[in-house]
Structure formats: C-alpha cells, structure tokens
C-alpha cells in the first residue's frame, strides 16, 4: 500500500498537482449541462492521452474501450429496444459516459500524487495549512479505503455475511454495522500510522517547508489550465 501510493511515476511530461486538481474540478462541469458529443469525446480522449503520458498504457486502453462500448450501446442499441430494458440500459451507459471524465481525472490525481508533493503545490497557492493537509491526506487515503474495503469484503464472505443486495434490503442496519465497524477500525489505525509517519518527517515543523522536487507550473501545466478554463467557460456559456 505504501509502495504504490508513494512511488513516483515517471511521466513523459510531469504535471503539477494543481493542474490535476483543475482537471478534476473542470471535468465535473460536464455533469451539469449537456455538452455536444464531439466535445465530450474530446474531453475523454484528452484524459486518455494523459494516462498515456503517465505511462499507464493498459489503463488508457481500457478507458477508450469502455467509453467506446458505452457510446455505441447508448447510441445504437438503445433505439432498437424499448420499454424498461431500454431505460435501464440508457441510464447505465449515460452514467458511465458522463461520469467518466470525473472518474478519470480523480484517478489521475490520486495515482499520480504523493502527499508531500501535493502539500508543497497547494501551499504555493497560499491556501491555509488547516485545509491543505486534510485535503491532501483525503486524496491519498481514498485508494487505501477502497483497498481496505476489499479485504473487509473478503473477510465478510469467509464468514458468510457478505454484502449483497438481498442482505442490504433484509437487514440494512446490521449490514451497515458489519461493513462500517471494521472499516472505521482500520481507518483509525491507519490514520494514526500515517500521522506518525508524517510527523516524524517534520510535517508540523514551524519552519517553512522546502521540497526536493521542483514544484512549479511548466508550459504543459499552463496548457492544461487553459484547456480547463476554456472548457468550463464553454459549458457555462454555450
């Protein structure tokens, strides 16, 4: 867990965490207004390119395939069908398509980040530490939560109390308890460990933090930021 979260991916053109954050917030705008299909395709392909940039070829390929299938099913198969099945199919494929940019941007941010780099970048923006630290830890912790949840699910299945729709409907509160209690237990422990690790590296030192990595917006970052701004304006105006 530690290894994956802290490993630096050597991207072709490394992007600043701030650009990633801008991408995340900008791609959310696709959810609030209908954008023309070519623009949507452009956004998804741009994000897929960023996966290639991070040398995550398999992930990029998966993105393209999933998006193409969703698009094809939504546009071609649904008009041929009718009734409930069509409605469900349309809902699922549209959701997949529209949430894709957000999920991709979040994925890029979360997998490309290290806490210290993120903190250094956000501190450059003069954001207060009280906000920067929890925000960075939150992004760092989301994959950990998913991982923990996977292990907890496995453990629950071993004991025959797996989370299934039937079980959720039949005894919702018990299922909630079974799921949340171990999750919170491990979160509490992991948070303490993460805090100890960060403090021992001097996160709460009173002196100004310096960073070995160069945290600076390069040309590529300005390009990404400009694209994000253009996209948001496009959505809000158009």
């Amino acid at each position: 867990m530690e290894l994956r979260a802290t490993r630096e991916r050597t991207a072709f053109v490394p992007l600043d965490p701030r650009s990633m954050l801008a991408l995340l917030f900008a791609s959310g705008f696709i959810l609030i207004k209908r954008v023309p299909l070519p623009l949507e395709v452009a956004v998804v392909s741009f994000l897929a390119l960023l996966f290639v940039n991070e040398r995550r070829y398999a992930a990029a390929l998966k993105v393209v395939v999933v998006y193409a299938v969703a698009l094809a099913v939504g546009l071609c198969a649904v008009p041929l069908l009718s009734g409930v099945l069509a409605a469900i199919l349309l809902a699922v494929t549209t959701c997949m398509r529209l949430f894709m940019p957000l999920v991709l941007a979040a994925n890029l941010l979360i997998h490309g980040m290290t806490v210290s780099r993120f903190i250094a970048a956000l501190r450059r923006m003069r954001l207060p530490a009280k906000l920067v630290i929890p925000l960075s830890v939150m992004f760092r912790f989301i994959p950990t939560v998913k991982e923990e949840w996977g292990s907890i699910r496995t453990a629950m299945h071993f004991r025959g109390i797996g989370v299934s729709p039937v079980r959720v409907l039949r005894s919702p509160l018990t299922t909630l308890e079974y799921a949340l209690v171990p999750l919170l237990m491990s979160t509490a422990t992991l948070a303490n460990e993460l805090a100890a690790a960060s403090l021992s590296r001097g996160l709460d030192s009173k002196t100004e933090r310096t960073c070995l990595l160069e945290v600076r917006l390069g040309p590529a970052d300005y390009l990404v930021l400009a694209l994000c701004a253009a996209f948001v304006i496009c959505v809000l105006v158009g």
Partner: protein
C-alpha cells in the same frame, strides 16, 4: 509537566469516550478520570507549552467548566489552546476519505430509482452517522466539524455544483456551534450537531429549488425522459422542506446509531 496533567479534571462524560484510551497511554497518564483536585493554573501552564507540537499532549486538556471554582479565564484559555494540530488534520483527512467513499457508494446505488434518489438525505444521514461519531470522538476540538464540512462540500462541488460547498460550510458552521455549546464533550450536543451536519447531504438538491429546469435537464441526460417525468411529479417546490426534514431525521437516526456503535465497539476496543 505530566504530573500536572494527571491532576486535571475529568467530567463524568469524558469517561465515556472523549479522552481515549490510546491517547491516555500516549501521554503516559495514569488515573485521569478523577474529580479534579489539582490547581488549574498548573494545568494550563503545562498545556500552553505543549501547544501544537505534542502528539497526544494537548488533546487531553478536556478540563470542564463544571468543576469547583469555574473561573472563566482558564476555560477560555483551555478552548483556545485546544487547537487542531497537524496530527488531527491528518486524521481528519483520513476520515473524510472514508466519509466521501461511503457517500459516493450510497448515491451511486440509489441514483437509479427516482424515489430512492430523493430519499438519499435520509439514507446518507443513517449510513454516515457512525463515521461522523467516530470522527468527532477522535477529534473533539473546535474546528474539526468545519474542516470535515469543507472537505465534504468540496467533494460535492466536484460535480460542478458549487451551491453545495456554500451550503456545506453553513451546515458545518451551525454544527460546530452546537458542538461548542456542549463544549465538545456532550453526546447530546454532538447528536444535535450531526443532525444539522447531515443537512450537507441535501446540498445537491438545492438545484431542485433554485434551478429546477437545469436539474431536470441533468436528470434527463442521465436517465432519459421517463425518469424526469417521475422526478418532476415527485418534486413540487415545497419538496425542499421535506428533504431538509429527511436530512435532519436521517441525522438523528444515524447519530444515534453511531453512538451506539461507538459504545458497543470502539470504546471497548480502545480505538477512539
């Protein structure tokens, strides 16, 4: 210095959970929850020097105003020195991650059925209650609820809905005031605080009131026109009051559930 801390006052409640077992052992304290005999000036002097840097040190300063000669100055001093330190902020981030993952999971599952989607404030209030309870038992300090509210609001506004952030900050601020009214120790005021905090769960629904056409258009985009007709029929303009009520009730149920789980599991295991 540690000696002075052992003499601090512990209220009846703090035995229940505000000062945790692990923290106590970190500060190598012994026998905390005794009615205070030590001098208040001594404790506050010990605290002020450990402010900010100590891991578990300043978290233990749950001195109560209900003690013997509750002099105002030392209480104010206590509140101001119980700031969130870096360790707390890290823990806040970790719990916010769990909070948001569970939030997203519930919304994703329920969004496919209109009536369930509209019931989300209730479901979320219940599902997130245990997380909130553990969170504020671990971080019973001023500002902790506001930090969580801002993070939740930011996560909600990632879908392009920035009303959610403002609303979350409002709800978080109100929850903060309620928790403060109980001096960050009272279970009841935390329950009330959670009920108000759960209002953050209906933040996205403000679009229903403020921009219904846009909201419906968004829904049409996801789920097709039949879904929209259903949503439209289910949401007259007063629905927002129903949603607020649902959020508050969900908060009460979830908060109560959370506190039950807290005493059933977490306090016994010494996690919080």
């Amino acid at each position: 210095m540690k000696g002075t801390r052992t003499a601090q006052e512990g209220s009846g409640y703090s035995a229940k959970g505000t000062v945790s077992r692990t923290e106590r052992s970190e500060a190598s304290q012994s026998g905390t929850d005794r009615r205070g005999t030590g001098s208040r000036s001594g404790t506050s002097a010990g605290r002020s020097s450990t402010d900010g840097s100590g891991t578990g040190a300043d978290r233990n300063s749950t001195s109560s105003g209900s003690g013997t000669g509750a002099d105002r100055t030392s209480r104010i001093h206590t509140l101001s020195t119980r700031k969130l330190n870096t360790r707390d902020l890290i823990i806040a981030g970790a719990f916010a991650a769990v909070y948001i993952v569970v939030l997203l999971a519930v919304v994703t599952v329920s969004a496919f059925v209109p009536i369930l989607y509209l019931m989300d404030p209730l479901f979320l209030g219940i599902a997130l209650g245990p997380i909130f309870s553990v969170y504020c038992t671990k971080l019973n300090k001023p500002g902790a609820l506001l930090v969580l509210a801002i993070l939740v609001g930011l996560a909600e506004s990632m879908t392009g809905n920035w009303i959610g952030l403002g609303w979350a900050i409002l709800a978080g601020g109100a929850a903060e005031l309620l928790a403060r009214a109980g001096r960050y120790r009272s279970k009841r005021s935390y329950l009330a605080a959670y009920s108000v905090f759960a209002l953050t769960n209906m933040g996205p629904f403000w679009l229903l009131v403020l921009a219904k056409a846009r909201f419906l258009e968004t829904c049409a985009m996801y789920f097709g026109s039949e879904y929209v007709v259903t949503i439209d029929a289910l949401t007259p303009s007063w629905i927002v009051l129903v949603l607020i009520a649902l959020a508050l009730v969900g908060g009460l149920i979830g908060g109560a559930l959370g506190q039950r789980l807290l005493s059933k599991h977490f306090e016994r295991a010494g996690v919080v």
